[in-house]
Symmetry: C2
Subunit: 192 residues, 2 copies
């Protein structure tokens, strides 16, 4: 039983329950088959556990972004889609991110999200500049729009799936649409 185990369990609870209040020592101890005595050996208090969990999540997100960027893919469009998938697909696949966003009132959470999201937007912006030779500002605007769109979609898809038509719930469809709109298309038919 190590500190990392506790942090992982905390992240699991956050993902499953969708709220920071799910990170509570006694329930976690039960889930882990451990006791509070163990916990308070590895951490000074509950806040320290939350910090550790947040740090773990930030490290994972950062690594995944780095991997997506450094993929040795020739086709720029493929790289773009891969980056977009990593940035936004996380929200679609992994509730943790939405849970954190919901808890962003907490300054610690906000700080982590701020770093992670900034890095993502920077990456997408620079890829757009390189791929489409867009000027900085235009690239940033498009990146931001695409990201916000995907963020809102993920939120709706998770919270109130019924307001989304069938197609809009599929991640690949969303990615297609997002990437096309990044390229400057307006929203039309699928283009092979």
């Amino acid at each position: 039983m190590t500190a990392a185990d506790w942090a992982d369990a905390a992240l699991d609870a956050l993902r499953d329950e969708g709220s920071l209040s799910a990170i509570a020592i006694e329930p976690l101890a039960a889930r882990l088959g451990a006791t509070k005595g163990s916990f308070y050996w590895h951490f000074t208090n509950r806040d320290a556990l939350i910090d550790a969990a947040l740090a773990g999540w930030e490290a994972r997100s950062t690594r995944e972004l780095r991997e997506a960027v450094s993929v040795g893919e020739r086709e720029p469009a493929a790289r773009g889609r891969e980056l977009l998938r990593t940035m936004t697909g996380l929200a679609h696949r992994d509730p943790t991110e939405l849970a954190l966003l919901a808890e962003a009132g907490q300054p610690r959470v906000a700080a982590v999200l701020e770093r992670v999201i900034s890095r993502r937007l920077d990456a997408l912006t620079s890829l757009l500049r390189a791929t489409l030779s867009l000027p900085e500002e235009e690239a940033r605007q498009r990146a931001l729009r695409a990201y916000c769109d995907q963020l809102g979609r993920a939120q709706l898809a998770r919270a109130i799936p019924t307001v989304l038509p069938e197609a809009a719930r599929d991640e690949e469809t969303c990615l297609d649409s997002a990437w096309r709109s990044l390229l400057g298309a307006t929203a039309g038919e699928p283009q092979p």
Copy 2:
């Protein structure tokens, strides 16, 4: 001291604290200068209060949407912008909506949001059909995209304002941009 007072206070707490757990009888009683005795006279339990607060919010949102739609404005663009402002500006101005979205794990919350958001998307879709003579599907897609974009923006603006450039934090700028993108523009310069 009436039941509506309690429900309003509950909504205030939800807005200020940003979480359903802020709707707690004892703190509310303190805030109102009342006591739990009063509360349990008007409501059977805490859940009933939450239901009342949600119903109040839904009624308000529905009314505001109806007013925005029935505005006797000749210019269709103005009506569109007004509708958009009502739909999304709420998220910008009033944290309540984002708090609810964050709490949509709760089925009651999800049900309310589902109704409110469906109505908004329907309204925007039909306005787009009427104004731009778009086919149903295309109109729905555009409406959904604009709404998700604004939703994500509102979320970011509230949770992590620093990732947004200055301009993207201004509601009017966002509305301009959203409306233009609804019309089919790609994201370019302001057009008078």
